[in-house]
């Protein structure tokens, strides 16, 4: 019977946590992609790699050090962008390589790669502990509520930063809050697909949903649905075919994107925009 797998506690935990992560990644991803921060998730995850190595090196729980290093890195990058003329993508590159550099350095000092490190690199959603389950669900609830509270401001900031500023938004503060939430989202999501594939969860469902949705609300709902669907299906398939869940999830997201692109090309969904009329 196909539903047997739902009887396993590790499967239940994996699916619930997976769905929660799918939701926060797609929500955060909408803003990241639209602000042309698509690779920001990757950069944060690589910072997290440095953080995890620091944890393993110093004996502190790696998740905490990952949070600390990534958030500090993200704030540092925002500051760097604001006060120097370094462009967004270059700043992301700086963040990415410094995280990775520190990580590699510390790992060599700790004595090479360990099982723990591998689970951070490639995800280990089915090996998740009860404590981590509660932690991830709690943080996800926090991320979702902050994004819901800030949705109007964030939408305005994303659409047109200067106008948002003129309308009295504290743009600088909002930018810092934004990267902190992004950092928390990325680190929390590491358990699902790992450091190396985190961008997939942030970017893929959103690109797909932007091809489908008309309005912002629709796009967000489509993105969350695609994301949750990919994660749940990915976990189930990976179990039956004995594959890595992270890779399966990501490839399902890619398949959905490609299918949507083809459908769009063939005119099956979201008819091409009518030729805009003049007034």
């Amino acid at each position: 019977m196909i539903f047997d797998i739902f009887a396993y506690a590790f499967m239940q935990k994996g699916l619930i946590v997976g769905a929660a992560i799918a939701i926060i990644c797609s929500l955060m991803g909408t803003f990241l992609v639209l602000r042309r921060y698509s690779l920001f998730g990757d950069a944060l995850a690589h910072m997290a790699f440095g953080g995890v190595s620091l944890g393993l090196f110093s004996g502190i729980y790696p998740l905490w050090t990952a949070y600390a290093v990534s958030i500090l890195g993200a704030l540092g990058m925002t500051k760097l962008r604001k006060s120097t003329k370094i462009s967004g993508d270059a700043a992301i590159a700086v963040l990415l390589v410094s995280g990775l550099g520190v990580g590699v350095l510390l790992i060599s000092a700790t004595g090479g790669f360990s099982v723990d490190l591998f689970s951070f690199l490639f995800g280990s959603i089915l090996l998740i502990s009860n404590e981590d389950t509660i932690l991830i669900l709690g943080i996800s609830a926090g991320v979702v509520s902050s994004l819901v509270l800030l949705r109007k401001q964030l939408l305005h900031l994303t659409f047109d930063e200067e106008q948002a500023k003129v309308s009295g938004l504290n743009v600088d503060r909002l930018n810092y809050v934004f990267v902190i939430i992004a950092g928390v989202t990325v680190i929390t999501s590491m358990r699902l697909v790992g450091i190396l594939l985190i961008s997939a969860l942030i970017v893929l469902p959103n690109i797909t949903s932007m091809l489908l949705g008309k309005g912002f609300k629709q796009t967000i709902i489509a993105s969350m649905s695609i994301s949750v669907f990919s994660v749940v299906l990915g976990i189930i398939l990976s179990y039956y075919f004995d594959l890595a869940p992270s890779g399966t999830i990501v490839m399902i997201s890619v398949a959905i994107l490609v299918a949507t692109l083809c459908a769009k090309y063939l005119g099956l969904v979201g008819k091409a925009a009518p030729i805009a009329k003049t007034i």
């Binding site: 639209l34 042309r36 047109d160 106008q163 003129v166 309308s167 008309k214 912002f216 003049t278």
Partner: protein
């Protein structure tokens, strides 16, 4: 007595040592539709950015009698449509959603209403209460004749329609002053005229004070009630009739515009 919405006195702005704006003076009374004419590079945008607190300047700018930083709390109530809005063409938002971004939170409105009341502005117009946000959006879209486009994705609109969406976005907050920076750049002539009528309507029917910049002298002649003419310096500022009856002034303006053009090419 009509209240001065905006006073700009001896404002100068320099970029890297050269003056972009040189001691500019003008003021705007409540209910005005002021057209600021000047060629490209005359400093119109720079001046607007200074008024909006986005640009450092020397001199004095007053909004409803409040000077400099003191009026900054009122800035959210100033509608501003910039010459070119840089937004992601593929942005997944409908026309209504974009207009709704302009709505200010109730708390902010209360605070601003108090500030305005204290400086004697007719704040009850500002604090006109429309029950629902969606009604405000619809009303603003109706004003710019775009009601039928409300559910379209923003990227599907033409340039002229887009500018009207941004005006609607500025209108939902019931602005105490609306600043339009060359709103019809890159729009065909027929569309431009319809657009000017919308501006006139907003000024006359919604009683919104408007400062509008353009290099289209003809349009300003037809629609504005007051004219300011600048090219780094302010050459003239006053009633429209006075401006167009003064041949010397027109000549100076045209010549300086030519100079600037030659300078640029």
């Amino acid at each position: 007595m009509s209240m001065k919405s905006l006073q700009v006195s001896d404002v100068s702005i320099s970029y890297n040592g050269s003056l972009a704006i040189d001691k500019v003076n003008f003021d705007v009374e409540e209910g005005d539709l002021l057209g600021i004419v000047g060629p490209n590079g005359a400093g119109k945008t720079t001046l607007f950015r200074a008024i909006l607190g986005l640009q450092n300047y020397s001199g004095v700018i007053k909004l409803f009698g409040l000077e400099g930083k003191k009026y900054h709390p009122l800035l959210p109530l100033v509608g501003y449509v910039s010459q070119k809005v840089n937004f992601e063409q593929n942005f997944p938002a409908t026309v209504s959603e974009v207009v709704a971004m302009g709505i200010l939170p109730e708390k902010k409105l209360h605070k601003n209403a108090t500030v305005l009341q204290n400086c004697g502005c007719c704040w009850n117009r500002v604090y006109k209460k429309i029950n629902k946000d969606s009604d405000k959006v619809l009303e603003a879209l109706r004003t710019v004749n775009l009601e039928s486009h409300k559910n379209k994705r923003i990227g599907e609109l033409s340039g002229g329609e887009l500018q009207r969406v941004f005006i609607a976005k500025a209108l939902v907050k019931d602005p105490i002053l609306l600043i339009l920076d060359e709103p019809v750049t890159g729009v065909d002539v027929e569309t431009q005229n319809k657009f000017y009528n919308v501006i006139k309507k907003i000024n006359e029917e919604n009683k919104i004070t408007i400062v509008w910049s353009s290099h289209d002298l003809e349009a300003i002649a037809k629609f504005a009630n007051r004219v300011a003419c600048m090219n780094r310096k302010m050459f003239f500022h006053g009633q429209k009739e006075e401006f167009f009856s003064n041949k010397d002034l027109l000549k100076t303006y045209t010549e300086s515009a030519m100079q600037i053009h030659m300078h640029h090419h």
